[in-house]
Symmetry: C2
Subunit: 451 residues, 2 copies
């Protein structure tokens, strides 16, 4: 009765799984925000290397992981798969609960799984420098690490309010050698125009994206990198689910339900897509995306073309969206506060392959505390949504008196997020109703794309 | 060429290594602070369960690890042993550098290695509640975790200045179900008498120890727990070195030098003692304790009887000490700011089995940054002292053009210590000279023990 199932590092998967050939129908095109027509390769090449653009569109089911990437993955991969014996006992459930733990990476989350290959492909393509944005800092720190490893310069536009309030993540980025700028900055036209209107602007993720994209588009030595949403990001994250599947096989098990939290979609895709492949082949497995009720993209949004960012600078994708100018309340799971979703995940939800469920944050912190008290590990606030989903499935199994195999992804640890737990314990957290009116308003502003 | 050497969880050692029978000479007695005579078993039983007192004195070389403890160890053990390929390359050294990484525990350091068995033995002995103290919070959070796992209540007296300045660690303890009190508190005579004199007292580790010991001594359901220094604590930590030895053997290597940072001595004992055993059997291996120049216990202290705490409430041990009222400067490696040392480690240093070296903090942060930029992992400020030692050995190997196998213990991650890195990067850190005058003064106050 093992507690954790560990793979030798030589068994890190040699290929990522690309779900595109197994999708239920063709992909919608990506639309240029300038022309409202499909983006041209030239527009993409201004900010991404060709190799990543190819991965974005590839119809090959398996894509080789370069040896140089697997070598770096070995710093924390294969990540352990745990059987949650103590949580099962605490819940009194006949379910068998497994969780894949991605918090052991140097940055403490799943984000380096894609930061490393993105930096690698950029290095191969001759990129000297990466510009990217970050909100709370998880993605920026992962990209800083990756750039450090491959010898790329890295500039991170960090939303100003986080720059001030989350100095720990900023220090991590500096430790890994990145330049960190509070956004809006005076480095870009986008930043300067905001500052001209409001010198005290707190910034937003939308503004930071605009700054990073402008930086990359206007310097020939620089490319842009994004930490979620895009197809190639989801591709890289499938290493999570591929390993989990192998580890579950070692335990002689296969999941009835696979659960991940959902913000932009990358960690969810990571754990879910390799099982969606089995489902496409007729296997009976449920795949569930857990999102916050305060930002209920998949459960209350529409499946439509929308901008990837508030500033309408990023490409337009067909996805579930709450409207690009929807501003979710300031919940503690900052990584789940995104108005849109990965187009791949969205299409799978739309086709009924993936289920979506929204949960309020207090119930998620309750689940996280129960988890930490039985399994020890302190979850990131984002990951607590997946735990809530897993515990609810386990409780249902108890009610029904049925066995059930539950797999969820614990996408990161919460050591840098203890202020959120502090707020929870001191009763300062509140739940938000579905902000129906705000969503209805922002959905009026979708771009008019006619294809 | 593996990056990390991973043991299956079934290969967690089944016994701890007790160095007492292999010590170079008999142990000095532990002296009661009240009588200045050897402590009686009754004095010990007031605050510790018999099983731990027996371990404290045992002359058995191998002590079984209970299955119930190994079961919990599996949450993060065996910990990985890494070969630092990228650091070696960055240093251009012919040395082979290995590090054992203890930061993967739920608390982020090696401390749970002893917190778990201490809670277990207390539970077996019928203890209902543990009282302990904590400075920055590493030990308190580990003990909170351990008590939560075995269903014990836990009260942590946390030095008031840290209680205010380190809310993250406080929240961790609460998350794991502990009661956390700012010390001095009104819960004990010790606390009340301090508050009567100075209602705004910031507290100190000495005061917090006094409060926790008084709490345990005056309640029959409560025992006390200490996170370092004591023999049984060092014993439990040997799991680090025992695993490392097995992992090195898998890599076909054996260290020329074994390095740990040194505060109270527990993580150092953990990595060092299993190799000291080999040295006692004639094997050629150096064992080096790294301490801060600001608190140079082993390099500038005397080997003498002294109180374990500032308040002269804790037992008197023969150890290296700077004097119990020596107050080290406020460096960022809070876990290394202790005036004394483990009596076992002290005796080994005195006998020349273990070498000691002091290093200034800025050089340690330099080493930590070089390490993080090549290996990815962000070290705790304490652990950076071991890294400094390892890098210096590797640079020496380069100068000499000689191969050398270096093993060090990376005792914890620094995700909760990023403020220290921030201070380093912003040039706010300073080095302290050996505080010779302060040491000379405090050494005048050693207790007069005549045996």
């Amino acid at each position: 009765m093992n507690t954790k199932i560990v793979l030798d590092e030589n068994r890190i998967p040699k290929q990522w799984y690309n779900i595109i050939p197994d999708m239920p129908g063709p992909l919608a095109p990506v639309i240029s925000p300038r022309t409202l027509q499909p983006v041209t390769p030239d527009e993409m090449l201004a900010i991404f290397p060709m190799s990543l653009i190819e991965q974005e569109m590839s119809t090959q089911r398996w894509i080789d992981i370069p040896d140089e990437v697997r070598e770096i993955y070995k710093l924390w991969r294969p990540s352990p798969l745990f059987r949650a014996h103590r949580l099962e006992k605490a819940l009194g459930t006949p379910a068998r609960i497994y969780y894949k733990y991605e918090g052991g990476s140097p940055a403490g989350s799943h984000k380096p799984n894609t930061a490393i290959p993105q930096a690698y492909y950029n290095k191969q393509a001759g990129t000297k420098r990466i510009a990217t944005e970050t909100g709370a800092g998880q993605w920026g720190s992962s990209m800083a690490l990756a750039c450090q490893i491959y010898g790329l310069e890295c500039t991170v536009y960090m939303v100003k309010v986080s720059f001030g309030q989350k100095p720990y993540r900023k220090s991590m980025m500096q430790l890994w050698g990145a330049e960190v700028l509070a956004s809006p900055s005076d480095r870009t036209n986008a930043g300067r125009s905001i500052l001209a209107k409001d010198p005290n602007s707190n910034g937003s993720l939308g503004i930071a994206i605009s700054e990073a994209v402008e930086d990359a588009a206007t310097r020939s030595d620089t490319c842009y990198a994004l930490g979620s949403v895009l197809n190639h990001v989801c591709l890289h994250q499938t290493i999570i689910g591929l390993e989990a599947k192998e580890q579950l096989a070692m335990a002689g098990d296969y999941p009835d339900v696979v659960i991940g939290c959902h913000g932009g979609g990358s960690n969810f895709a990571g754990i879910g897509f390799p099982f969606a492949a089995d489902k496409a082949s007729g296997r009976d497995v449920r795949i569930v995306a857990m999102e916050p009720t305060s930002c209920p993209t998949l459960t209350k949004g529409v499946y439509a073309f929308d901008y990837g960012d508030t500033a309408q600078m990023a490409p337009i994708s067909k996805m579930f969206t709450l409207g690009h100018d929807f501003m979710p309340p300031g919940i503690h799971a900052g990584g789940l506060r995104y108005h849109g979703s990965s187009p791949l995940v969205s299409q799978l939800v739309h086709a009924g392959v993936v289920e979506a469920r929204a949960v309020p944050q207090i119930a998620c912190f309750e689940a996280a505390v129960q988890f930490a008290r039985s399994e020890g590990i302190i979850p990131a606030p984002e990951s607590s949504h997946a735990i809530r989903g897993a515990i609810d499935e386990a409780l249902l199994a108890r009610e029904e008196g049925k066995e059930r195999v539950i797999l969820f992804n614990l996408s990161g640890h919460g050591h840098v997020d203890m202020a959120a737990y502090d707020a929870y314990f001191s009763g300062q957290l509140e739940d938000y109703e579905y902000p129906e009116a705000a969503i209805a308003e922002s959905l009026k502003h979708l771009p008019k794309v006619s294809l």
